[in-house]
């Protein structure tokens, strides 16, 4: 059986990208947030995705980090 790797090799590059993006941010005033306040810009799953996330938790081995269940509360893994 192929041994699972703890972290993929792309992770350092991904973290470097995140740090670069974070370092390039500018302060956005309240009056400039009309686009950010749009319902569809919310940094969370949509309400209509609720059951989709639930079946994925049952049918896949991985879960969590998406605002949904992280384990427990159902007969799933």
């Amino acid at each position: 059986m192929k041994k699972a790797r703890c972290f993929p090799s792309a992770l350092p590059a991904f973290l470097a990208l995140v740090i670069f993006v974070l370092s390039s941010c500018t302060t956005v005033k309240e009056y400039q947030k009309n686009k950010l306040n749009d319902n569809e810009m919310a940094l969370a799953a949509r309400k209509v995705e609720k059951t989709e996330m639930s079946f994925q938790t049952y049918r896949e081995g991985a879960s969590g980090a998406n605002g949904g269940k992280t384990g427990g509360g159902c007969g799933c893994n």
Partner: protein
């Protein structure tokens, strides 16, 4: 089933009518009394089919359907020092039929297949202090079906940065679950139930499963069109982590039930970025890396666009790719050796890739959906899922928002 659905919708509309008597401009009005703010009804129909059921040791039908209805109500009250208190009440009900569950005890086959209903209410409270940029909260949840019961609790703390462009949040959760040990019929001793009534009336031994998790996230506004979030969860589970009716067929032809370790540590790391391109297009993206100590590593990438064809109508096509390797304890039908300590033939824990794609639309007319002022939004979404193991499924979901 029809009666259940109608009852849920009826109850929901009664709540909306009861608490939503008056319309207020929420941008300036700060109610001191508990006031209805928003309600959502989410209904879904899900069906799946495949040929690797864990109930029959990794072979056999995985046919399953699920009707799900969830109602959530949000109430708001402003307290002293301009603190906003939000209360969420949610009640969900799933009704499913599962062809493979019939194979636990074939003597009680109830055509067309076995069925059960799960009910899961929850209640949560949050207090936002705008002056300090802090939020605290707590919640309780409960879930019950014939063979599974769960009690959950959580606490939350969030702190915004000084310029209000970033926010750190931490949530601690615990689920205390209890499951009935319903074994496959050939592995039980004593009198064998021959009807569903006898099966349900049986006294089953029980086992516990406890899950504790910490969820930490940091969200940041990058510019007026781009924001992102980093999410890290740590989940520890202990207790009975398999299911008692999942069969294993060993190489020598003997049958047993799956046996998995009694602890599991999971570490999912997530990243979200949403970008508003021009005035009519939103790009939503999500990536998750996952690893646990059963040897499972997985990657999830999801992309969605929201095309605003008019100020009140948007189209939302999406695509999700998922890939996992198998847990250390998985092998197909009649491949496990009786000398192994842990074993499962549950294909949900096998190596596979999956694709999930579809589209939805969202309606938010100024005059209300179908000219009903109180229905502020309607969202309908369809998705098709297929897995390289051969399992495929379809899901249709509807969200109605009331204000």
């Amino acid at each position: 089933m029809k009666k259940i659905c109608l009852s849920v919708v009826g109850l929901f509309l009664s709540f909306v009518a009861l608490f939503g008597q008056t319309e207020k401009d929420t941008s300036t009005y700060k109610p001191r009394k508990l006031t209805f703010e928003e309600a959502n009804l989410v209904s879904s129909y899900y069906r799946q089919d495949g040929n690797n059921s864990a109930v029959t040791g990794g072979i056999g039908t995985e046919n399953l359907t699920d009707y799900s209805n969830t109602v959530d109500l949000k109430f708001v009250k402003w307290g002293r020092k301009d603190i906003k208190h939000s209360f969420h009440l949610e009640v969900g009900m799933d009704h499913y039929t599962s062809a493979s569950s019939d194979k636990i005890n074939p003597y009680t086959i109830s055509s067309p297949s076995h069925a059960d209903t799960r009910i899961y209410p929850s209640l949560s409270w949050m207090a936002e202090n705008n002056a300090k940029g802090t939020t605290v909260g707590a919640g309780l949840s409960f879930s019950n079906e014939f063979d599974y019961r769960s009690i959950g609790a959580n606490v939350l703390f969030a702190q915004k940065t000084a310029n209000r462009n970033g926010e750190f949040s931490a949530r601690l959760q615990a689920y205390l679950d209890n499951l009935k040990l319903i074994y496959p019929i050939e592995l039980r001793s004593g009198v064998i139930p021959t009807t569903r009534e006898e099966e349900r009336g049986d006294d089953y031994a029980t086992a516990s499963r406890n899950s504790f998790s910490g969820s930490f996230s940091y969200s940041q506004i990058i510019n007026p069109s781009l924001q992102l979030a980093l999410i890290a969860d740590v989940v520890y589970q202990q207790g009975y982590l398999g299911l008692p009716f999942h069969r294993i067929y060993f190489t020598d032809g003997n049958v047993a039930i799956e046996n998995l370790p009694d602890t599991r540590l999971k570490i999912p790391l997530g990243f979200r970025a949403n970008y508003f391109v021009g005035d009519k297009l939103i790009l939503r993206s999500f990536y998750r890396f996952y690893h646990d100590d059963w040897g499972l590593t997985a990657h999830t990438a999801q992309f969605e666009t929201s095309m605003k064809l008019s100020p009140f109508f948007s189209l939302t096509p999406f695509y999700r790719y998922y890939k996992q390797n198998s847990v250390n304890y998985f092998a197909p039908y009649k491949v496990h050796s009786p000398s192994e300590t842990y074993y499962t033939s549950n294909y949900d824990l096998s190596a596979f890739n999956s694709h999930f794609y579809g589209a939805g639309f969202r309606l938010t007319p100024a005059t209300g959906v179908f000219h009903v002022q109180r229905i502020s939004a309607l969202e309908l979404r369809y998705g098709h899922y297929n897995r390289t193991t051969g399992l495929n499924s379809d899901i249709v979901s509807l969200n109605l928002q009331f204000k």
